[in-house]
């Protein structure tokens, strides 16, 4: 029998999987996004097309990839191309439906900081990894989803550095740049789901079972608004937990803890 108690990583992963539609072309990152995509492919979205920034299309990883360029991504994939092609012909051309993103900070308008903590780029308090592929994924994927634990330091009102664009200062500002993608459409946290309102500001639209509005308010760095009706997300199913624990991440590398 599967233990129905779940970790916050499992909860976020399963909720992220539910955002994927069958047939979506997804630009996948390692860690939770990879697990979410493979969970969706094994359940409700068998025709999901997984694309990895290393230049792999239609990947069917048979083991858990531990890096973005793991050789298991290549075995049995439908195509492999160079990085210039994956970013230009797939992402820039508009052939990617979904991008998953994370970052050290996410702000009120879904902008992401993965570059520095502090206000001076030349002399940062903390130097973070930088954009990698996220600037283009956030700019050009049709739908972007962010997976992140809900902590106050991760949700400031304004990020220190916009590495990847959400709605900048509001939907009109993003639209004015001409960036083709739809922007941040959902933030999945361990407490609930945030979605942009008509102005692009993230508001609480769902709580996970047992989580409260107060917890969300305490762990958000701005006065977060709440949708008129806040729904409660589905509890993770035993079948989803079993698939994650026994087949997709049997070592608990990404799913253990918290």
């Amino acid at each position: 029998m599967t233990d129905l108690a779940y970790s916050s990583s499992e909860l976020m992963c399963i909720n992220a999987a539910h955002l994927l539609r069958d047939g979506d072309v997804v630009f996948v990152g390692v860690g939770l996004p990879n697990l979410a995509c493979n969970l969706a492919r094994r359940t409700h979205a068998p025709n999901l097309q997984l694309i990895y920034e290393a230049g792999v299309i239609g990947a069917r990883p048979s083991r858990l990839p531990l890096s973005i360029g793991d050789p298991t991504l290549v075995s049995g994939a439908s195509s492999v191309c160079g990085m210039f092609d994956i970013f230009s012909q797939y992402l820039q051309r508009g052939n990617v439906d979904v991008g998953f993103l994370g970052g050290a900070q996410i702000d009120k308008f879904g902008n992401i900081n993965a570059t520095i903590v502090g206000s001076d780029y030349q002399h940062p308090k903390v130097r973070l990894p930088g954009s990698g592929g996220s600037q283009e994924i956030a700019g050009w994927a049709n739908r972007c989803y962010i997976i992140t634990p809900h902590q106050k330091r991760r949700f400031p009102e304004k990020v220190d550095f916009i590495t990847s664009a959400g709605f900048l200062g509001g939907r009109a500002q993003r639209a004015a740049t001409g960036a083709r993608g739809g922007g941040t459409l959902m933030v999945v946290t361990n407490l609930g789901l945030l979605e942009p309102d008509e102005n692009g500001e993230l508001i609480l639209t769902a709580l996970h079972p047992g989580c409260t509005l107060e917890q969300v308010q305490e762990n958000t760095g701005w006065d977060i608004q709440v949708a008129e009706s806040v729904r409660v997300t589905d509890k993770p199913l035993a079948s989803e937990l079993t698939l994650l624990r026994e087949e997709l991440d049997p070592g608990g590398i990404y799913l253990k803890g918290s």
């Binding site: 290393a54 230049g55 890096s67 050789p71 492999v80 160079g82 210039f84 930088g130 600037q135 001409g178």
Partner: protein
């Protein structure tokens, strides 16, 4: 004419103090043995460029080879931070230039195509552009829309590891292709390291697989296991354990120096390094074969 020489000879001949160097490979085929040879030869003031500096540049920077880093993501892939690079950037000891992956790869594409710059569509993200004066804008002469541009990157030396090459430098690669081809065409001098040196007939039996033509190659070095702890598709797996271990090793200057003494300065080259890893590691990294179906080119 054969371009075959030892890796040590190739580094001596083509890598000079102050050069810009691009050790290619996105997670796959990273030429660690060449990085280690550069360390052993005590090269200094290099400008190192890679999308992901990976452990190879963390090690080269720790050994004092670099003056400047050009990058788009500084993490230990799958593990966490790249400690040395991060400390050197935070302390201001290392100069840097930063791009997104696509910005970085577009610089190479421009360099490889003989163009002065490459245009890209806007991503709406403003801050890297604000802080890097090399990221500029140009007006599309057809639609009047503003595009982002990055300048060509033409490294002095490109080092590219491949599965197999012939003595003329015709190099075949399979698996993740990263920026291998663009680095080769963009660089002034090209060093190929290969798991296997094969007869020209083998290359000619499958010309579509030749990613880099010998005509742009300066040196071909036979370096089996060159990519460890990264990997070579079909030859050996990525040593994820070492990537995790490096996170510990790189915590302290003393443990880094001990590691460099033992694994870089203390060995003559890639062969001795690989043997030193031992049978257990060799067995752990071995991969079962999985062959592609042969294709028929026709006999014309």
């Amino acid at each position: 004419m054969t371009k075959i020489c030892s890796l040590s000879e190739a580094i001596t001949t083509y890598v000079h103090d102050g050069d810009s160097v691009f050790c290619a490979g996105f997670t796959h085929l990273i030429p660690f043995a060449a990085g280690h040879e550069i360390i052993r030869q005590g090269k200094r003031n290099l400008t190192l460029a890679r999308a992901t500096p990976d452990l190879i540049y963390d090690q080269m920077i720790a050994a004092g080879c670099a003056r400047k880093l050009i990058f788009s993501y500084i993490g230990n892939p799958g593990v966490g931070a790249l400690r040395i690079v991060r400390q050197e950037l935070e302390s201001g000891r290392l100069e840097w230039e930063e791009y997104s992956h696509f910005g970085m790869i577009s610089r190479l594409q421009a360099g490889a195509a003989g163009l002065p710059f490459m245009p890209m569509n806007q991503t709406a993200a403003p801050d890297l552009e604000k802080n890097n004066p090399n990221i500029r804008r140009v007006k599309d002469p057809y639609s009047e829309q503003e595009l982002i541009t990055v300048p060509a990157l033409n490294p002095d030396v490109g080092i590219i590891h491949v599965q197999r090459a012939d003595k003329n430098g015709n190099a075949q690669v399979w698996g993740i292709l990263g920026e291998q081809k663009e680095v080769a065409f963009a660089s002034s001098k090209v060093i190929i390291t290969a798991e296997e040196i094969v007869d020209e007939d083998i290359i000619r039996s499958d010309p579509n697989r030749t990613l880099i033509p010998g005509l742009i190659v300066n040196a071909v070095c036979h370096v089996p296991h060159c990519a460890h702890p990264s990997y070579t598709q079909g030859y050996y797996d990525r040593d994820n354990v070492f990537y995790l271990n490096w996170d510990k090793i790189s915590e302290e200057r003393t443990s880094i120096n001990t590691w460099l003494d033992e694994w870089v300065y203390g060995v003559a080259g890639a062969e001795e390094y690989w043997q030193k890893l031992g049978a257990e590691t060799h067995a752990r990294l071995s991969v079962k074969p999985r062959f592609a179906a042969p294709v028929n080119y026709g006999d014309y």
